[in-house]
């Protein structure tokens, strides 16, 4: 089993977080008050901010090792991400959005896989819709399809369901759980919603402002 192991400090102007935990496959929820550094931790794993000290490893892959000046590029970390406000490309169709994330195969193979994933998340009929005009729930379903399209081993989700109605939320939770189970993924989910914790968490990493305090199954 690949372990995701963090022992880092991440600083941004006016704030810093110390995060230390080690998690395996399944869904790990990062829980704690706003501003405790959960999203910043996720950004460090994604490679969009550089930690100031420590290391992040996923299995044999070293994402970050500050002492050895290793900072693997985001592109090379083989991740899928879903943000609170799906960062979809509004100028491309939902199908294009998913296709762009598929890393292997020729155009028709990538298109086929993207269509299958859109079907899978219940957005098959939206493949050629105007991305800009989609509802929040539709966007997040497409974002989830896109996140798994590159066949990543690690999924990062930052408040993925918080702007959705409860029916969409339930649907997306089930989708996420089924992807994680089928593909043996490691998923980190940042959430403020206790219902997300109850429904999703295989384990919980608890934050207080500026640091992780415990990890529990």
């Amino acid at each position: 089993m690949r372990l995701l192991t963090l022992d880092v400090r991440v600083d941004v102007p006016g704030f810093g977080v110390d995060a230390a935990f080690s998690v395996g496959t399944g869904i790990t929820v990062l829980a704690g008050p706003s501003g405790s550094g959960k999203s910043l931790t996720l950004a460090a794993v994604a490679g969009t901010v550089r930690p100031t000290r420590g290391s992040i490893r996923f299995g044999d892959a070293v994402f970050v090792d500050v002492d050895r000046a290793i900072h693997r590029r985001s592109q090379d970390r083989e991740l899928g991400v879903v943000y609170q406000h799906a960062a979809l490309l509004d100028h491309r169709s939902p199908l294009d959005n998913v296709m762009l994330a598929v890393r292997e195969g020729n155009v028709s193979a990538r298109r086929l896989l993207a269509r299958e994933l859109l079907q899978r998340v219940g957005a098959g009929e939206l493949a050629d819709a105007k991305t800009r005009s989609l509802s929040g729930g539709e966007r997040q379903r497409i974002a989830l399809a896109r996140a798994v399209a590159g066949n990543p081993r690690l999924l990062l989700l930052d408040e993925p369901f918080s702007s959705l109605d409860s029916a969409s939320r339930t649907h997306l939770r089930e989708l996420l759980k089924s992807f994680v189970a089928e593909r043996h993924l490691t998923a980190l989910v940042v959430t403020h919603d206790q219902a997300d914790v109850d429904a999703l968490a295989d384990r919980v990493v608890v934050y207080e402002p500026g640091r992780t305090v415990s990890a529990s199954e």
């Binding site: 985001s74 592109q75 970390r77 979809l88 490309l89 994330a101």
Partner: protein, 219 residues
Amino acid sequence: MNDWFPLWLSLRVSIIATVVAGVVGVALAYLLAKWRSRWASVVEAVFTLPIVLPPTVLGYYLLTLLGSRSAIGGVWQDVFGSPLVFTQAGAVVAATVSALPFVIRAARAAINNVDARVEESARVMGLSELRVAQVVTLPLAARGIGAGVALGFARALGDFGATVMVAGNIPGQTQTLPVAVYDAVQAGDDATARTGSLLLGAVAIVVLILVTQVFARRR
């Protein structure tokens, strides 16, 4: 006006200059926007200079830099067998340098305005920097870039001072429409001056309206 040469030359020079300034300007703007260094603003200031310099002074710098006795001018002459200054190529250089800052400033602002999270998520999903630029950044910045290119074209079409310094005022060879208008006024040829001015005004307005509409429709 019975000689259409200045109009065709002006259009040709400004179209070539706009293409060159568009490609170079967008590439530079992209690098400047992504280059997190104090030197980025110094480099941008240097390329912006043509907006604030008097065009004749800009022309003088170019003439000094590109003249036959300069290093660049010498190399040009060795390669192409004719000097760069006082030719149509010189007019293209003058127009390009005049248009470049408009493209750079508009494109850099537009590229900076692209939501960094959208670029980040494209990177995280595995797209190379070049693909991120191609699929995310430049399409999202297209309207701003288009506005800069349109302004650059208008500037290139209307340039007088730099062109007259670098390319001279040789009727039938390097005399662009703005220079021809000046010549006509000097010679008391009101009809030619009026026609040339109206043509320049009309072409500029048509181009600006077209570009504005194309980019308004995209939204």
